[in-house]
């Protein structure tokens, strides 16, 4: 396939910001980068403040904390402390599925608990109501753990949720703690991930030393079980012989998170939302981590092999190969079928903090061309690779998110891999504590854009007329109005799973459905076509 590039990407970049006031144009231009196709990536402005008034994809810290990180854990009872809205909007709106072992097991995910703050609490303080709400929640649900999420007004009026939760913990004899994840913290959901990671690490990780007898114990970090992704991965792990101690946080439960420090290896899917946890667990318990990706059949096979190789057991490696062999024929067959219909089509994806990268694997498998991509709430390292971490300047918005000081656990720290072994594994493709970032893996001439505004999105669509656009629900229907199908990569258009081998096949099908759908060729009515003909020929 010869790639046609009608536009010079630098020209397009200019066009994207041309309508902005000059100050904004300058700011946004830094967030738009033409990829080089090499490891030498230009710097991108990321994790920067959203420009007020520009229609944005982003949400807030509360959404990142309560919605993303805490949402998928079925038996930790969340109470939103604040006016009713925040609790309401985060009630069941993410598709993180959960499957308790037994039908009667605890599952609080269908419940939305809120203190529904009223004016009087804003004026006189809401601590009393919060304390009472925690007690009422305890009486009704008898959970192991209750957590409290702060919303915007809480910090402003000075409610001390940590004080209230400490008192409740004492009184009720269960674990109770809070998250200061007020919506104005940071510049996006990302702040909420960090805040959530910190508290989970402090209050849950390492609180139960019971370890499984299997030697191949792993944690899966940054997998949220959207549309059942985690179920697919759990199944693969079980078949390969890996023992999954805990997932942060898909189909997850309280107890396994408390035992997660007993794992031998941490597998990081969505680096953006969970890297804090991986780093802290390495520092404190000596658990090494590797980046994995179960989006894409090849990526899945590669990730499984890495895990097996890490443990080095021949039987494990063999069993892993067997599982891959079982899965690949169906994948190949589907790929062949759908490639025929999708190959060469252009796609853009703007979503999440790692999805826009991970899903490129699947599009490659379909032979589709990613002409532009970007994240919604990522940091520079997610684009440029972990190596740029030291060069990221900490701005005011990041500075006010707590950084935990973690030290080696005097008793429980254990070196899993010697430095020599580590080098040897790295030479064999098992690289620890690293990830390349999205930009180096994209084609030369393609665009990377951090958090495009609504305006930029529609300029992009006009200029490229891609065959498929991937984003979130706020974008989907607006994009489709232009006649370009849009796949939601947060919610999978309510389909999925998209992870693993099975997920790859689902994904191929869904992409084919979107790009091959008959409806797109009917947008003009016959009489509109006639009018055009008339206009053209002056009839």
């Amino acid at each position: 396939m010869v790639k046609e590039s009608i536009y010079n990407p630098e020209e397009i970049k200019d066009k994207l910001v041309a309508d902005f006031p000059s100050k904004i144009a300058r700011k946004r231009a830094k967030a738009i980068v033409v990829n080089t196709g090499t490891d030498e990536t230009p710097q991108i402005a990321a994790n920067a403040r959203t420009v007020p008034g520009l229609i944005t994809m982003r949400g807030c810290a509360y959404a990142g904390c309560k919605g993303v990180i805490l949402g998928p854990t079925r038996d930790v009872l969340s109470i939103t402390h604040g006016p009713i809205g925040c609790g309401f909007y985060s009630w069941l709106t993410r598709r993180n599925q959960t499957r308790p072992p037994k039908p009667e097991d605890e599952n609080f995910m269908t419940y939305c608990l809120s203190t529904d703050m009223q004016e009087s609490e804003i004026v006189f303080g809401g601590e009393k109501k919060l304390a009472q709400a925690i007690e009422e929640a305890y009486q009704l649900f008898k959970p192991k753990t209750i957590v409290v999420h702060a919303t915007c007004p809480v910090g402003l009026i000075g409610d001390d949720i940590h004080q209230v939760t400490r008192a409740a913990q004492e009184k009720l004899g269960i674990k109770v703690f809070g998250f200061s994840c007020e919506g104005y913290k940071g510049v996006s959901q990302s702040a909420g991930h960090h805040i959530a990671n910190n508290q989970i690490f402090k209050h849950m990780v390492g609180t139960d030393n019971t370890a499984s007898p299997s030697p191949y114990r792993v944690n899966l970090l940054g997998e949220y079980n959207i549309g059942g992704d985690a179920f697919v991965i759990e199944d693969l792990f079980a078949r390969c012989g890996f023992e999954l101690v805990s997932t942060f946080c898909g189909n997850s439960d309280h107890d396994s998170m408390c035992r997660s420090h007993t794992a031998e290896l941490n597998l990081v899917m969505c680096h953006r939302s969970i890297n804090y946890m991986a780093d802290m667990m390495e520092t404190k318990y000596g658990i090494p981590w590797i980046k994995v990706n179960f989006i894409g059949a090849e990526a899945t096979a590669k990730s499984l092999r890495k895990i097996a190789r890490y443990f080095g057991d021949e039987k494990l490696i063999e069993q892993t190969e067997r599982v891959i062999e079982e899965e690949m024929p169906a994948v190949s067959e589907a790929r062949q079928l759908y490639q025929e219909r999708c190959r060469g089509k252009k796609v853009m994806l703007f979503v999440g903090g790692s999805r826009a990268h991970h899903y490129q694997e699947l599009f490659k498998e379909l032979g589709m061309e990613v002409v532009a991509a970007g994240y919604e709430f990522a940091h520079r390292d997610d684009y440029e690779g972990r190596r740029v971490l030291p060069s990221i300047t900490v701005d005011a918005d990041s500075r006010n998110i707590e950084e935990l000081t973690v030290e080696k656990d005097p008793e429980r720290y254990k070196e899993r891999v010697s430095p020599e072994k580590c080098a040897e594994l790295a030479a064999n493709g098992v690289e620890f504590k690293d990830y390349a970032g999205m930009m180096p893996e994209m084609e030369a001439g393609s665009l990377t854009i951090d958090e495009p505004s609504h305006h930029e999105t529609f300029r992009l669509l006009e200029l490229y007329k891609p065959d498929l656009y991937c984003a979130g629900v706020k974008e989907k229907y607006a994009v489709q109005k232009t006649g370009i199908p849009c796949l939601q990569l947060h919610s999978y258009d309510y389909g999925g799973p998209f992870a693993g081998f099975e997920g790859a096949i689902n994904f191929y099908k869904d992409v084919d459905r979107l790009v091959s759908s008959r409806i797109w060729s009917y947008l003009e009515a016959p009489w509109q076509r006639q009018t055009q003909v008339k206009a053209t020929y002056g009839i």
Binding site: R58, E182, G183
Partner: protein, 461 residues
């Protein structure tokens, strides 16, 4: 069981809301603002609010929902949001070029006490607002009232900012404040008023905004919505019909006091009787005859009710949602000889319980009515666990109860996230009532067909 931790009982709660039957003010203000032509709603607060409101409205309508946000950071939260709002106004007008920006506040900006009136006047003075463009606002603290209050407040603000009193005689024209209903409902109300031959201004009007065609072209501001000229002219109309006390009352009152436009405060025209009262009010105030076509629609509704009565008679129903909907809907259900035994709204307000008592008092003395704090869907479910119902009517969140209790759910209200139709097919007016009745009948008949014994499986129903 999806809600396995809900037990029967009526355990008192003072501080904890579980599974709310309301949400917060700003989303209502955003929805109302979308009903102004060429308007960009603007959320003055943290960008999370705006994202949540846009997502929820988008899921409900499966449509583009655009809104600006002041994108507060911690700094703005401490030092005030004026700078953010001014910058947002600048950017919005230069990038998106709406005719008007409709700002609503959030708990964040309300808590820190941003004075939007003052900021807007500063924006005017400092020329952040281009010639001929407008910025209006309403205060929608999330910690008071509910989404319905927010809607009512934004509609009231339209009057406060824009309505202009008549200089001489008012025009022979009606203002119609449709209340919080769907675009299709607004279309249907307009169709009825047009069929009566009455000149009118409907505000807000989300038809043509949240039910737009797929054309291959995306419009920042779709064709629909009440124009600014129309909003100005509302002060020069002869009368206002305010449909739904909670959502439309405050604007009507404001229009009366600001521009001396009298008003009829009516129920939402859901069901036979409320529609009768609406049509009759139009008829009386404008001394026009009701066209035969409307009387026939009414007769077709009556016909349908009378023919399928055996399936609705005596059925117990639980409903939740917004006060205006619940009052009119309950009255209709009683006409169908159904029993709204549990009726509940999270939205606080004065007249709801009184109205409900009037509607249900004699007919369904056993009914439990609840409102405001503690009136949440957990409570509703507890009631249902005590004594079951035959039907649920409410928003999508009822589906969890529906599945657990194997009770059919008719989706009505906000939000509906898992079905289509509400934005396209009206439930107001006589035709809307037929749709409602069809949905109710299908719910019962589908269940019967699915679950009855084989010997009771019926060909004819």
């Amino acid at each position: 069981m999806l809600l396995r931790h809900t037990a029967p009982g009526d355990s008192p709660r003072e501080a904890l809301t579980i599974n709310p039957a309301k949400t917060c003010q700003p989303i209502g203000a955003m929805y109302a603002a979308l009903g102004i032509h060429n308007c960009l709603p603007h959320s003055h607060g943290s960008q999370g609010c705006c994202a949540y409101h846009r997502s929820t409205l988008t899921r409900h309508y499966k449509e583009q929902v655009l809104s600006g946000t002041s994108s507060f950071t911690e700094g703005a939260s401490v030092f005030g949001g004026q700078a953010n709002l001014l910058q947002a106004i600048d950017n919005i007008f230069s990038v998106y070029n709406p005719d008007i920006i409709a700002v609503h506040t959030t708990c964040l900006s309300e808590t820190i006490g941003d004075d939007i009136t003052q900021i807007i006047s500063k924006a005017k003075i400092e020329n952040h607002i281009p010639q001929g463009k407008l910025v209006i606002h309403t205060n929608t603290p999330s910690y008071a009232g509910s989404h319905v209050t927010g809607f009512a407040n934004m509609v009231k603000s339209m009057v406060q900012y824009l309505s202009e009193p008549a200089e001489g005689m008012p025009e022979r024209r009606a203002n119609i404040i449709p209340g919080w209903v769907e675009p299709a409902d607004m279309r249907e109300i307009k169709r009825l008023v047009e069929a009566m031959g009455i000149n009118y201004i409907m505000f807000p009007d989300t038809s043509g905004v949240l039910d737009t065609p797929l054309t291959g072209h995306s419009e920042l501001f779709p064709a629909g919505g009440t124009t600014i000229k129309q909003l100005r002219d509302t002060g020069r109309s002869k009368i206002t019909f305010a449909l739904g006390e909670a959502a439309s009352g405050p604007a009507a009152l404001q229009l009366d006091s600001k521009c001396k436009v009298p008003y009829d405060l009516l129920d939402l025209p859901i069901g036979l009787q409320a529609t009768d009262r609406f049509i009759n009010a139009l008829c009386k105030r404008f001394h026009v005859d009701v066209p035969e076509s409307i009387t026939e629609e009414r007769g077709r509704l009556l016909n349908l009710i009378s023919n399928l009565h055996q399936y609705t008679y005596g059925k117990r129903v639980a409903l939740w949602g917004d006060p205006d909907q619940l009052v009119a809907l309950s009255e209709f259900l009683v006409l169908l000889n159904m029993k709204p035994v549990y009726v509940l709204t999270g939205t606080p307000g004065k007249r709801f319980e009184e109205r409900m008592a009037a509607v249900l008092g004699d007919s369904v003395p056993e009914a439990k009515i609840a409102q405001g704090p503690g009136a949440d869907m957990y409570r509703l479910h507890q009631w249902i666990k005590q004594e079951g119902v035959d039907l649920l009517i409410g928003n999508t969140y009822g589906k969890y109860i529906a599945r657990d209790e194997n009770t059919p759910l008719v989706r009505l209200g906000f939000p509906i996230l898992d079905r289509v139709g509400h934005q396209y097919f009206p439930v107001v007016g006589y035709r809307g009532a037929m749709r409602l009745l069809e949905m109710i009948l299908n719910a019962f008949l589908d269940k019967k067909d699915r679950e009855c014994k084989e010997e009771s499986f019926e060909l004819v129903m």
